[in-house]
């Protein structure tokens, strides 16, 4: 019996469970009596930030969620979009930040497991995983432990379930020292006429539990994720769940086998807040009641209480409402896959959740007020301090040295050490592996359809200007998909911020959403699913609470009707190189400024959404008609880093022409102006004419060929040298 179970239920215990005095007052008025311990537990997790989105909900509603190709937007387990031929892509990104600091391997592994379930619970076979990771300062001794555990955890889970991990991103910054970010994204494919939703229906229909047994792990994980860390964070290890990818693999196959029949009425995975949230949400969405007999819940340990079973976050479990005449058929499928299967309750017409255990009624809560009266906060916001204006700057090192320093730095160094621990080819459909194109590309089995996927965010831009940063994250995801030739369809967002109770953090949150919304609207790139992670703070021994950089990570998805038309970023031989998009030489918040001057000054680059769309539509059309043979968007590090990356990934080097007249060379080569691409084409003159006719800024950059990167001054850096410098960082940090 847990310590909490011995205490009387009162305002003090409610506070310990994370409910404010006002929230507890609402609980009392909904119940009309003092709740039982189990009931208090249910209210506290359902009204936690993690489950109720109480600080963010009002703002999330402002994001655009619709487009003709959107089949299901936010509100389901994952977003669903039309990809043609009667098929749908189902995808979502979700954070597992807090557990990944406490126990990096299990935190990351169960993050992957959880997002996989969100996708296959809707009927999709998962076809790709991506992840957006943020770690602390590489010099912090904790960072190495966390990188090692997270990478092993992501790989350990994804490799075993047999879903290829094809892409993602990694940043390092001291603001993540005590609070790394692990955002995992899964993309699945389903038939549009076989999509499964979570709203329960059919009074009397049985409720079945499948998957792993319930244990005492992860109790109150959702509540932990809804508060700040203190110096005792590591003592919270028992709240971290433990994953079993083998069981997940069996669960995927068993669920998909059952989904091929017409047995399922509704299905939802047991994620955060476990049995509580799945039962409450399924019944609540369907407007029915639900009665569970907890004696029938498969249990891993003896003597578990109702409270423990309802709050457990044991992994690899699903809740299914099923047609009564199909129960035995379902049981046979789960027994074939050697998974637990139990009828644990049924739907009622009472609109209440009733839990029985050992002959006692442990909970009896009306569902409508539990959902409708969940708190919504419009927390105070404060404007962020504007960044220090950028002063006139010099170039102390020259172009060549600056390039080498940039491609060596942690944010631009080769991620090969990480990718090589992720199985990226299982499934046999991976058209572009990690690093080979701006977005990962997989083929949808037995079709010519390709899916392009990416995750993007530039947290340093978001800190300098959250609105611009929010727009930039969306625009970069759109651009990365475009750069492969794919048509961007929709995004999933994973909004990682500090404590919403700090007005300046809340201000960042509100601004970032405003910027994201603008970009999503301008680019017809709606948000179809997402997740909010707040309280990403670490309280140091001095009592000072440190927030992470605002990190609204965007997971983008696009489609190619004919995947063979996709292009990668590797430099092809014998091509003319062009720069698409306008260059103003914006060095504010650039990596050049940070790595060469140690400065984080200036406004981030302007995001001109009209130019973004014009340039992108032009590039995509020229890829699809075969004119452009390789394409790389310009992002962190600017133009010269982009060209160097193409050389490192490709079969040829290149020779570059002199920079734009009237602009400082470092601003031309390292400015991070948005909406730009480097493209390789076979027939330069006709391409130039075409761009001119379309009024697209297009500048001849040089020619591909040879083996190295030849700068305008005639100096050549060999490909081997570039690769060696670019590959230093991870092995040096991790294998020492």
């Amino acid at each position: 019996m847990s310590k909490a179970a011995q205490k009387p239920v009162d305002a003090a215990l409610a506070k310990e469970f994370g409910l404010t005095a006002e929230e507890y007052g609402n609980v009392l008025s909904i119940m009309g009596r003092t709740p039982s311990l189990t009931e208090l537990g249910i209210f506290s997790v359902m009204w936690s930030e993690h489950c109720s989105y109480k600080s963010s909900r009002a703002y999330l509603k402002t994001l655009p969620t619709k487009a003709p190709w959107v089949i299901h937007g936010p509100g389901e387990n994952a977003g669903v979009v039309d990809i043609g031929q009667g098929l749908a892509a189902i995808f979502k990104m979700e954070s597992h930040n807090h557990p990944s600091f406490i126990e990096p391997y299990q935190g990351a592994a169960t993050g992957v497991g959880g997002i996989l379930r969100d996708v296959f619970t809707m009927g999709a076979r998962p076809v790709a995983n991506l992840n957006a990771l943020r770690f602390g300062n590489p010099d912090n001794p904790q960072t190495r432990r966390i990188v090692d555990g997270v990478v092993r955890g992501v790989g350990g889970y994804g490799n075993c379930v047999g879903v290829p991990t094809v892409g993602g991103e990694i940043n390092f910054h001291p603001a993540y020292d005590g609070n790394p970010l692990v955002n995992a994204m899964t993309v699945g494919v389903a038939r549009q006429d076989r999509i499964f939703l979570s709203a329960a229906a059919g009074v009397g229909n049985p409720v079945i539990y499948v998957g792993s047994k319930t244990g005492r792990d992860g109790i109150h994980g959702a509540t932990m994720s809804s508060s700040e860390f203190d110096e005792d964070a590591l003592a919270k290890r028992p709240t971290v769940q433990v994953g079993d990818p083998f069981v997940e693999k069996l669960l995927i196959e068993a669920c998909l086998e059952l989904m091929a029949t017409d047995a399922i009425v509704a299905i939802q995975d047991m994620g955060a807040a476990g049995l509580t949230s799945s039962a409450v949400e399924m019944a609540g969405k369907g407007g029915v009641g639900i009665e569970l007999d907890l004696d029938n819940v498969p249990q891993r340990e003896r003597g578990m209480t109702a409270y423990e079973m309802m709050l457990s976050e044991s992994q690899e479990r699903m809740l299914i409402v099923i047609r009564p005449d199909r129960t035995e058929q379902a049981r046979a499928i789960f027994e074939k896959w050697e998974l637990d299967f139990a009828v644990i309750g049924h739907l009622t017409d009472t609109g209440r959740i009733v839990l029985r255990h050992k002959g006692e009624t442990e909970a009896d809560i009306p569902l409508a007020p539990l959902a409708d009266q969940a708190p919504v906060y419009h927390r105070p916001t404060a404007p962020a301090l504007p960044p220090v204006p950028l002063e006139a700057i010099s170039d102390p090192v020259g172009i060549e040295q600056a390039l080498l320093r940039l491609i060596r730095c942690p944010d631009l160094a080769s991620r090969e050490w990480v990718w090589n621990q992720y199985d990226s080819t299982v499934g046999g459909q991976t058209v572009r592996r990690p690093g080979a194109a701006d977005a990962a590309i997989i083929q949808v089995e037995d079709t010519k359809i390709g899916l392009a996927m990416t995750t993007d965010c530039t947290p340093r831009y978001c800190r300098a200007n959250a609105k611009t940063g929010g727009a930039q994250a969306v625009a970069e995801a759109w651009r990365n998909i475009t750069a492969t030739g794919a048509r961007p369809l929709a995004v999933t967002d994973n909004l990682n911020f500090g404590s919403p109770e700090k007005p300046e953090v809340m201000g960042q949150f509100v601004d970032a959403i405003a910027g994201m919304g603008d970009a999503c609207r301008a680019l017809d790139f709606p948000v179809v699913s997402g997740n909010v992670s707040l309280y990403n703070e670490t309280r140091g021994p001095d009592g000072e609470s440190v927030s992470i950089l605002p990190t609204p990570a965007i997971g983008g998805l696009g489609v190619l009707d004919d995947v063979s038309k996709a292009v990668g970023l590797g430099m092809p031989d014998g091509c003319d190189l062009f720069l698409i998009g306008e260059t103003r030489g914006e060095l504010g918040q650039s990596l050049w400024l940070r790595e060469i001057h140690g400065s984080q000054d200036g406004e981030p680059p302007v995001v001109d959404l009209q130019a973004e769309r014009r340039n992108g539509d032009f590039v995509r059309a020229a890829i699809l008609d075969g004119t452009i043979t390789a394409c790389h968007d310009i992002a962190d590090g600017g133009l010269l880093v982009t060209v160097a990356e193409m050389v490192m990934a490709g079969e040829a080097g290149c020779t570059l022409l002199a920079p734009q007249a009237g602009m400082r060379p470092e601003a031309f080569w390292f400015g991070e102006d948005q909406s730009r691409y480097v493209v390789a084409v076979r027939d330069g003159q006709s391409f130039m004419d075409r761009a001119q006719q379309a009024s697209i800024p297009c500048r001849r950059l040089g020619q591909s060929g040879g083996d190295g990167l030849t700068l305008p001054n005639g100096s050549t850096i060999s490909k081997a040298r570039l690769v060696a410098v670019n590959s230093e960082f991870f092995p040096r940090l991790m294998d020492r």
Partner: protein, 233 residues
């Protein structure tokens, strides 16, 4: 060619293997559930990659005792052809249908990357579409591929020409001590071995994942083309 792919709980490359086989035979192979006790009439049995039984205990150890295994043993004794890839190779060693064992990679990390294999002999059903000492590229993806056997076994394998493939440089250079060439640290850079009758082949890398130019090449296809030629005649 009538091919069957054995599916254990946790197998995860059966679809890749089916695609590769179908691309050369034109027909979908049979999927054989681990709880079966008889094999249908087959020319080739494939044990594909994955994490059978979660790789708990030891990779392949539990699958080696699955209900289907006695039938596979009989198939082997009758001279049938068996291909084991990755976890399938591990299962074949655990079942003692192939000699040796596969330890954790020397780096103690899962490795997913391209590697280059040298074909050590081309007079087998598995390798006949290559020339001896041809080098081909293939993806590998495993945590436990570090081949080891006792000295006597290695001498026997080498002496009897039972090494199927070795990890080498793209130009065929062999250096078992160089981790960039022999990534998992295998003894003698051994990537695959044959049974005594050359009809059972186990290998760690995944030729089935490189049979389509769209996915980066067809370097793995000769293995499957050769099997069809040999087994259909």
């Amino acid at each position: 060619m009538k091919a069957g792919i054995v599916v254990f709980p946790g197998t995860n490359r059966e679809r890749d293997m089916a695609i590769a086989l179908r691309s050369v035979t034109g027909v979908a192979p049979r999927m054989i559930w681990h709880r079966e006790t008889e094999l249908p009439d087959l020319d080739l049995v494939v044990l594909p990659g994955g994490f059978s039984y979660g790789d708990y205990l030891r990779c392949g150890a539990m699958a080696a005792h699955a209900p289907i295994m006695p039938a596979i043993r009989r198939f082997a004794q009758a001279g049938g052809h068996i291909l084991g890839v990755c976890n399938g190779f591990q299962i074949l060693t655990e079942a003692q249908l192939l000699p040796g064992a596969l330890l954790r990679n020397a780096s103690l990390r899962f490795l997913s990357q391209d590697c280059f294999l040298r074909v050590e002999r081309n007079d087998t059903a598995f390798t006949r579409h290559w020339k001896r000492h041809d080098v081909f590229r293939t993806p590998m993806a495993h945590g436990d591929g570090n081949y080891i056997a006792d000295q006597e076994t290695v001498r026997m394998l080498e002496g009897d020409g039972r090494v199927a493939f070795r990890y080498v440089a793209p130009d065929g250079r062999l250096d078992a001590a160089d981790v960039t060439l022999n990534p998992n640290g295998s003894m003698g850079a051994i990537a695959g071995v044959f049974s005594e009758n050359l009809r059972i082949c186990g290998m760690m890398p995944h030729p089935e994942d490189l049979v389509d130019p769209l996915m980066g090449g067809e370097d793995g296809k000769p293995l499957f083309t050769g099997l069809v030629e040999a087994l259909v005649g």
